[in-house]
Every structure is written in C-alpha cells, then in structure tokens.
C-alpha cells in the first residue's frame, strides 16, 4: 500500500525555488522522515523553517507514516 502525501510549499520557499510548483503530490512505499521527503521532491531541508502535517507541527526528523497533507514553511520575517 502506497502512502500518498500532498505537499504544499509556502511562498517563502517558492520565491527561492521558482520552478517548483506550489503543490506536489507524491506516493511513497514506506514511512519516511520529513527531511527525506523534502529531499525526494527537491526541497533543501535547510530552507524549511518548519513543517505542518494535518495541523500538527513536525520536525525534520519526524516520520510520516500515513496519508497526509504537509505544508513546508519557508522563513518569515517576524514583526
């Protein structure tokens, strides 16, 4: 059973990686870390300030185990 991940990228990432679409749907054969998922779709983990999966904040080392919608946040300038 493949795991389907819907990845959305913040504008903070897309303004750097201009050729990357705002949404990427990937299927993975087995659970993997957020970091590996990012690498697989060509997003340098260093550009990800944090990730949100189905409403919960995830670290780069957290494992995605089932179908999910993930938003990769780039960096923001607070204030």
């Amino acid at each position: 059973m493949m795991i389907t991940i819907n990845v959305q990228l913040s504008e903070g990432i897309r303004c750097i990686l201009k050729e990357t679409p705002s949404t990427v749907v990937v299927q993975i054969p087995e659970p993997m870390t957020v970091k590996q998922l990012a690498l697989d779709i060509g997003i340098p983990p260093i550009l990800i300030a944090f990730a949100i999966a189905d409403g919960e904040k995830k670290s780069l080392d957290d494992v995605v185990e089932s179908d999910a919608s993930i938003h990769f946040f780039g960096t923001m300038a607070g204030g």
């Binding site: 819907n6 959305q8 990228l9 913040s10 504008e11 903070g12 990432i13 897309r14 303004c15 750097i16 990686l17 705002s22 970091k35 690498l39 340098p44 983990p45 260093i46 550009l47 990800i48 300030a49 944090f50 949100i52 999966a53 189905d54 409403g55 919960e56 904040k57 670290s59 780069l60 080392d61 919608s69 993930i70 938003h71 946040f73 780039g74 960096t75 923001m76 300038a77 607070g78 204030g79």
Partner: protein, 637 residues
C-alpha cells in the same frame, strides 16, 4: 468618489488648533496606491527640507490603503511616517490591529499632523467630529495603562493609539502602541507624536467605504477566506506565530546573540515558539479580519513580577532574548511588557541594552555611570536600562538617541559594536554569512530593518542555484560553507518591491508569504474594490517608484548621505563569527562594496548611492529630479 477610499485627508495644525478636511486627490491614489505610498509622497512634498525630526515642522502621518478595512483576510494595517529621529532621513513604521479601518470608517484615508499642541493633548475623532482635547492627566502614564484608561472612559468602540514616557521624552526608538500590544515600533515614530504634545489618538468610525462592486467583493472576500482556510498550513502556523522560526534561525546560524558577537545559541529551545505555548500563552490575538492571528497573549511570571502581555514575537525573542542572553521565555515576555508600557521598540531596545552591557563588560561604562552592575543574562539589568532610557535618567540620557548616537558620544572603540545601519538598530537576523540579507539591511530605506526585504533563504540556497543539505537534525549546528557575494542584488531588489507593496495596499503580507495565498486574489480584490484593473507587476512598479522616492527623501534630508550610510558596523564587517554553523565566516569591507556596487547599478543610482536624475524621470518623478542639486547629501556632514 474614489472607490476603495474614504475620500478625505484630515489635517490638523496643532499649533493653531486648526482642523481641515480636504478631498483625497485622485492622482495620489492612482499613482501611489495608499499607505506607505501616501506617506512617502506627502513627506517629499510637504516636509520642509532640513526640518528637525522632533520640531514642530516635522510631519506625523497616518495612512491606510485601499484594501484596509475591506472584507478580506488581514486588512487591518495602518502606516505611519515622519522624518525619523533615529536616522534623520525617511522614516515609516506600521501596525496591525484595528486603527486604520476605524479611521477609514470615520471618513479619513490619511491624517497629517503638523505643529505642536500648546499643552499635552489627545485627538478624538468620532466620524466627522474631530477635537483636540487636553490630556495632561495622561502625560507620564504608560502606553498600556493609558489605553486601558481611555477604553474604560470612552468605550470599546474607540480604537486608540498611545505613546509612553519614551515618546514623551524624545527617545529615538519610542514607538506607538495600539490594541494593548500592537506597535508601530521603528524609526522613533512615537517620539514624533510626543514632540507634538500628543499623548493619544482615539477614533471611532461608523461610516462605510465606497466600493466599486460590493456584490463581487462579497464573493471574492468569501473565496479568499475559503482559500486561506484550505491551506495545509492554516491550522499549524497560528499557534506559535512568528516565534515558530526561532529554532530554524538558530540552526542556520542567524540568531543575534550577545550583542551580535555570535549567531548561534544552544539555549534557543528555551525561548522558542514551543516555550511560549508551554509557559505563557493564554490565547491567540489577531488584527482586523485576520484568519491567522499571530499575536500570543499570555501571562509571564518572573522574579520581578507577573504581567499579562502580548508577545513576544520572534524579533523580540531574538533582541531582548538571545541578544541579551536572557534564556527564560517568561523573562523575555516581562521585558517585552516593560518596553510596551514605557513605549519603547523592543528591537532597538534589545540592541541598545546589549551594547550598554558590553560597554560595561569592557570597562567603557562603569557602575557609577550605569547606576548598577549589569550583566548579560540578567533581567534586572535589562529592565533597569529600559527604565533609565525611557525617562532619560542617568545612563538613559546617553542611550536615548539610540546606539549610534550613544557610541559616537562614548567613543573608545564602542562604535565597532554598535549594531545599526543609518542609526536604526539591527533587527533579528545576524548575517555575516548571508550577504544578500546583509545587503537588504544595508539598503533598507529606514535603516537596519528586516521587513523591507528578506532574502536569508536565497543566501542559504546559494547564488548559483545550488543548494546545501548540511542539517542532519534540528538543533544541531553543522558548518555552513561561505556564501558567495556576487549576484545578490536582484533578489534583494525584488524583495524590496514585493514586501512593501503590502504596506501600500494596507494589508498584512503573512497570508501571502507564509500560507501561499495567491497573488491573483489581491489583483481581483483590488479591482472589485477600486474599479481599476492593475496587474501585480504594475503594482510592483508603483512599489519600486516609492523606493526611489524614499531614498530621495533621505538624500535630500541628510548632509553627506550616501554609500557610507549603507555600511554595516565593524563587528559585522570583518569580525569572524566565533562559533556555530557560520564559525569563521565574515564579510569584508571589499565584499560590502561589491554588494553595493551591484545594487546601486541595478537601481540606477550613482556610485555614491544617490538616485540619478534619469532614473527618477523613468518613474515619473520629474519634479524630484529637478530639485536634486540642492539636496543635503551634496553637503558635508
């Protein structure tokens, strides 16, 4: 009737107690959109050249944009402008909350204050009724206390701006407070209001704003909210707000630490977004029409007392926290509260306090000068300095003009670690290995501020498009390669047009920047509100024109203004980072000049960073080009 605008400018000559209302010129709206655009154009046209920033001739401007107060996500921004007491040049700052929409509903797109009231006063605006009322009993009160009292006396329907003792005493980094924790923090805007003897502005608006197609606005607004709420990051971004990036900024070696001595601090997990949730937060707090409230209202318990406070957001965490080595989130929140009540910008305050403590450590300021022994990591030291500053007591008088002024007075090499550009203290990103971000700070039109351009990610991605993957796990600092200097200007310039565009429109940028809210929404919303079709690229062109204008204002106002005003302090230009991911890296003076050469050329400015006449003419700024031979930049400082 101008759709999207209230249609009236409110002018108050405080010296003569003269209140005038004039129609908003259509060409101003068409050529400068609103907010920051209105501020810049009005300052250039009406500010007497050479005006004293704290004199009656300076202007205090509050302006909204065409999308302010409209039915759409996060339409609550208000822009403020003046000649900056911090830099002597162009100054603006903005805040969220509800003031701008209320001012528009009262009938005014812009409020321009000139002169000086004879006695401490407040301005009360209740739709068409505008009065200047004595406020001597408020003078001396804290910002939050004054707002609390005015709300109790006048009612919750009034939206209120206040200043604290810092604004009354002409502190170069005094802010304006609104909504118990929203600040227009930068450039000393609070001192300009204080110099006019104005303690508060209260506005209640019950009118409406003409809109070109109300039915279409309703539909587009609903669609916008639906789209924002559908973003995967919608529910996850809000809980921590901007504090959520503290860990990342540390991982990439950009966290200002110990007066910018270094850029990495292993205690960041104690002061991050999770710490706010764990130790402080009571509820989220948002601005007008905002679906993603980033404000965090909470209770901080410290050895100095317990306070309720909005914040701290990331900038405050970095400057009052890591930069002062305060490693308890509750203590940072307490210092945040003290700044809010005194009416001090938390960014500048953090930089000034850390500079003073380093001076003490180096023996340049002693116990007698400061009034007590001070040290990094000590909340009581920071609070002591803040209170001295706001009231100009003891060492506070030295620090009142900001870190540039204080270092010039103290000398003895202290200028090298006074962290500012143009006299405005540096905000929350250390960038000795981030040349693009360094350039963004150097060329920001108000001084060292992050909100004008933010390209740290571009620096990390590399100028040639190559990327690094050097982070093995969160929290671990691994070496980053030295970033290339060449090829940085284009991204900085693009960002300097993009981010301030939201300040022209009168809305918050976070839904766009963080949640991926599409540009097409803004184009459609602008059209249904105003009836004018303008592409995103055309709006960016207006933003670019405003950038030329703001640089011109500083060139006109500051004797000797030019390249030397864009340099970072010595600490950030030659002193290698001692530890963390960027250990050993620095940017040299030669590299700084490479950055500036490229930037000036792309901007159409001369080698000294002054806009060329032909450049100004390209943007339709002929009248500005015509007078540039008389600008102060051509005279010796």
């Amino acid at each position: 009737m101008l759709n999207g605008y209230a249609g009236t400018i409110l002018r108050i000559d405080l010296t003569n107690e003269k209140i005038e209302k004039q129609p908003l010129p259509a060409e101003l709206a068409e050529n400068f959109i609103g907010g920051r655009g209105f501020v810049a154009k009005t300052l250039f046209d009406e500010l007497p050249a050479g005006a004293d920033p704290l004199g009656p001739e300076n202007l205090f401007i509050a302006a909204s944009g065409p999308l302010s107060g409209q039915f759409m996500p996060a339409s609550g921004k208000t822009h403020f402008g003046c000649k900056s007491p911090a830099t002597g040049g162009y100054g603006d700052s903005n805040l969220g909350g509800h003031f701008g929409p209320a001012l528009k509903y009262a009938g005014y797109d812009m409020m321009i204050l000139t002169g000086r009231a004879a006695v401490p006063s407040m301005i009360v605006i209740e739709d068409e009724k505008v009065t200047l009322e004595p406020a001597g009993d408020l003078w001396g009160m804290g910002s939050l206390s004054a707002e609390t009292r005015l709300k109790a006396e006048m009612g919750e329907d009034f939206q209120i701006l206040t200043i604290g003792p810092a604004g009354e005493n002409g502190i170069a980094f005094a802010c304006i407070t609104h909504d118990f924790g929203r600040q227009a923090g930068r450039v000393g805007i609070g001192s300009v209001l204080g110099s006019k003897n104005i303690k508060a502005v209260a506005v209640k608006g019950t009118g409406s704003i003409p809109v070109n197609d109300p039915k279409a606005l309703l539909e587009e607004g609903k669609r916008a909210y639906r789209d924002v709420r559908a973003k995967p990051g919608f529910t996850g971004w809000t809980p921590e707000g901007t504090a959520g990036i503290t860990d990342w900024v540390t991982r990439v070696g950009a966290l200002p630490t110990k007066n910018f001595q270094t850029s990495y601090w292993d205690r960041h997990a104690k002061i991050n977004g999770a710490a706010i949730l764990r130790e402080l937060k009571i509820t989220d707090k948002g601005c007008y029409c905002c679906p993603t409230p980033c404000g965090k209202y909470g209770k901080a318990k410290t050895g100095l007392g317990e306070v309720y406070v909005e914040g701290p957001e990331f900038e405050t965490i970095s400057l009052l926290g890591s930069n002062c080595l305060i490693d308890e989130i509750s203590e940072i929140a307490y210092a945040n509260y003290v700044c809010d009540e005194l009416g001090l910008d938390t960014i500048s305050a953090g930089v000034v306090c850390s500079w003073a403590i380093e001076c003490y450590e180096k023996g340049l300021l002693d116990r007698e000068a400061i009034g007590k022994d001070v040290q990094f990591g000590d909340l009581a030291s920071v609070v002591h300095l803040l209170e001295c500053i706001a009231r100009r007591e003891g060492v506070g008088d030295l620090l009142a003009g900001g870190v540039k002024s204080a270092a010039q007075k103290l000398g003895q090499g202290s200028e090298a670690f006074a962290i500012h550009v143009k006299g405005l203290e540096w905000s929350g990103y250390e960038c000795r290995n981030a040349p693009g971000m360094m350039l963004a700070y150097m060329t920001s039109d108000i001084g060292a501020h992050h909100a004008r351009a933010w390209v740290l990610g571009h620096d990390l991605a590399g100028s040639s498009g190559s990327v690094h993957d050097l982070i093995s796990s969160e929290g671990e600092a691994e070496p980053l390669p030295k970033s290339e200097v060449v090829g940085r200007a284009a991204n900085v310039i693009a960002s300097q047009h993009l981010r301030p565009l939201f300040d022209l429109l009168g809305i918050c940028r976070l839904q766009f920047m963080e949640l991926g809210f599409e540009v097409e929404h803004y184009e459609r919303l602008y059209e249904v509100v105003t009836g004018r079709r303008m592409s995103w690229e055309e709006m960016l062109s207006v933003s670019e024109k405003v950038w030329q204008l703001t640089r011109s204002i500083s060139a006109r106002e500051i004797p000797g203004f030019g390249r030397s005003w864009d340099y970072p302090p010595e600490r950030l230009m030659g002193e290698p980072v001692p530890d963390g991911p960027n250990q050993g890296h620095c940017i040299t003076r030669k590299e700084v000049d490479i950055l500036l050469d490229e930037y000036y050329a792309m901007r159409g400015w001369d080698a000294n960073g002054i806009p060329k006449a032909e450049t100004l003419r390209q943007f339709g700024l002929e009248e500005i080009a015509a007078g540039m031979d008389n600008w102060a930049c051509h005279r010796a400082a």
